[in-house]
């Protein structure tokens, strides 16, 4: 049996269209005035394109004007939610990657009693689904009285995930020892070795795991929903959920929701544009979670 190249390319093209079109539709809807939506919901381009939906979800127009443009009148501020999302995912990615790199290095290169046992226990935690620890962690954060604070939001994943420790240990095991041995002869300490020699050598994998962590925390919903629902700590995903619930008795405010959705896609899209080559090329089994 033979499949012609034409059919194959067509299948790939279809996959691309199927991937991209829903996002196009998101933008198209975001650019449509809410009042037009009922009449104008099928054309490929809105009759009267507008940026008002973006302006109102970003809190740039007054309540009156927002209501007139189809909003529920409740205050919604995606600018703040975007900031919170950036803080949340940035903080976790940087600190977690650094701490896990230290641990991964110790597990791969240093010799001390209890090392393998400690590693085994951490890897075993990969088997525990997040929701199981989420319930008690919520109770803990509540008891510490840090609900609706940035520390409460980030602490559980700030220092480590078992996966990152595992991944970075495997990586450090795979790099040749020569450089480190040469550095030992120079009399450099363990910390100096890690900080001045090993870390700079490992930029690629560190960026890979850091990026993966950024993406996953950017997508987080359940934990920030439970712990940071207050306006001041609301991240984008939670903001979208709250926004959705604000119009319970009528049709959802689709044009506003799609404008908010575009905002939740934009930063990761920028990430892809600037670091896409690295992200895509480094994607092998390292990127999995």
């Amino acid at each position: 049996m033979k499949i012609s190249r034409g059919v194959s390319w067509f299948a790939l093209a279809a996959a691309v269209v199927l991937t991209v079109f829903p996002f196009y539709w998101m933008i198209r809807t975001a650019l449509t005035p809410a009042a037009d939506l009922f009449r104008d919901s099928t054309g490929l381009w809105p009759d009267n394109p507008t940026l008002i939906n973006f302006a109102r979800v970003l809190g740039l127009v007054g309540a009156e004007e927002a209501r007139a443009a189809g909003g529920s009148g409740a205050q919604i501020n995606f600018l703040r939610y975007t900031m919170n999302s950036l803080i949340y995912s940035g903080l976790i990615a940087v600190v977690q990657t650094f701490c896990c790199a230290m641990a991964g290095y110790a597990f791969a290169r240093l010799r001390f009693p209890g090392r393998d046992l400690a590693f085994g226990v951490i890897v075993a935690a990969l088997m525990v689904p997040p929701i199981f620890t989420l319930l008690p962690n919520f109770v803990l954060v509540k008891q510490l009285e840090i609900l609706n604070t940035i520390p409460g939001l980030v602490l559980p994943s700030l220092l480590m995930t078992p996966f990152a420790v595992f991944f970075l240990r495997q990586f450090f095991l795979s790099i040749p020892r020569d450089v480190e041995e040469a550095a030992t002869l120079e009399g450099i300490g363990k910390w100096g070795m890690f900080w001045k020699i090993v870390l700079p050598m490992s930029r690629g994998p560190l960026i890979t795991i850091g990026l993966t962590t950024v993406v996953w925390s950017w997508k987080d919903y359940l934990w920030p929903l439970l712990v940071g629902k207050a306006e001041s700590t609301r991240v984008l995903t939670v903001g979208l959920g709250v926004f959705l619930q604000q119009s319970p008795n009528r049709a959802p405010d689709w044009t506003g929701l799609m404008a908010g959705s575009v905002l939740s896609v934009l930063p990761v899209l920028l990430l892809l544009v600037f670091l896409g080559k690295r992200l895509v090329q480094s994607m092998n089994f390292s990127g999995m979670k």
Binding site: I3, T42, L222, T237, S264, V265
Partner: protein, 309 residues
């Protein structure tokens, strides 16, 4: 330089080695310190606490009081719990099968046709987007009145409305939406695996007159098996944890029973009804299911690996 001199001063290598070992012990645990603290406080301690809660009556407001196996006994007779298991299982099957089959096809096409980074980056986009956004987007595309997909169905002359609120379609739709979001990512992983297959095998097969389908079946698929198995383990575990999409496509209201997956049921028990103890017991069941599945799949993975030598 200084360190080298001191070492030369020492009579034998033994003392130096001894000192280094002692240094490692201190330095080693210092390197581990942040991770160990994070692990104990936010993984180990809550795991123990979670097990304890599952044997208690705990509403978040009172102190947990020990009730023995009461939660587990209740669970056995809880129809909503069994229903959520059933819904989750069929969700996982639809999601994993559709996602893996399409991803495998896409990966094979890319592998034989192009190395384009732009194409791969494009296919990765849905994976970068929060599930909440994906859910909202598809709730809009599948809106019964104004949704574009239903508009297309109408144009095609199909007299049916796809909607998350339809009992028959709810679960398959949620599964397909998530397949849409993760197929590109899965395809890229499989594609990376295919790149490790030596090119000359294909060249040889082409000389022997084998077609593409034949090559896929007798070269790509068997050599990809270990990686395919690994991808399956990881997507399966992820698939069981479906929550965000279901939480969003019903407008933030609880889903219809046909789409009430186990994660949502745990969430509901814990944070809507404040049955923290009961929720922990349901979560324990999930831990056991995932543990068994992972073990079985890992064993299969190991078996397939030794197969290939």
């Amino acid at each position: 330089m200084h360190a080298v001199e001191t070492r030369l001063d020492q009579p034998a290598g033994l003392r130096g080695r001894e000192r280094r070992r002692r240094d490692d012990r201190l330095v080693g645990w210092l390197f581990l310190l942040p991770v160990i603290v994070g692990f104990i406080v936010f993984y180990a301690y809550p795991t123990v606490r979670g097990v304890w809660y599952s044997f208690t009556d705990y509403s978040l407001l009172n102190d947990p009081s020990f009730v023995g196996g009461e939660n587990y006994r209740e669970l056995v007779g809880d129809e909503q719990f069994w229903n959520s298991l059933k819904v989750t299982a069929s969700y996982v099957v639809v999601n994993i099968v559709s996602q893996t089959v399409v991803a495998l096809g896409l990966a094979a096409l890319m592998h034989r046709l192009t190395r384009s980074v732009v194409l791969r980056a494009t296919l990765l986009v849905p994976w970068l987007v929060p599930n909440v956004t994906i859910g909202l987007l598809w709730a809009w595309l599948l809106d019964p009145d104004l949704g574009f997909v239903n508009h297309l169905l109408g144009l095609a002359g199909i007299d049916a409305t796809l909607s998350f609120t339809s009992p028959a379609w709810a679960m398959p739709l949620v599964a397909l939406v998530n397949s849409w979001a993760y197929t590109g990512y899965t395809a890229l992983l499989l594609y990376a695996g295919m790149l490790q297959i030596p090119q000359h095998l294909y060249e040889g097969a082409a000389i022997d007159g084998a077609g593409e389908v034949r090559m896929f079946r007798s070269i790509t698929l068997p050599l990809l098996r270990p990686i395919l198995a690994l991808v399956l383990v990881v997507s399966l575990i992820g698939s069981f944890q479906i929550f965000d999409t279901v939480a969003v496509v019903y407008g933030g209201k609880p889903p219809i029973p046909e789409a009430r997956v186990i994660y949502y049921y745990i969430y509901q028990q814990a944070f809507t009804y404040f049955h923290m103890g009961y929720a922990a017991a349901v979560a324990m069941v999930l831990v056991v299911i995932l543990g068994v599945l992972t073990t079985v799949q890992m064993r299969m993975l190991r078996a397939s690996r030794s197969d290939l030598g």
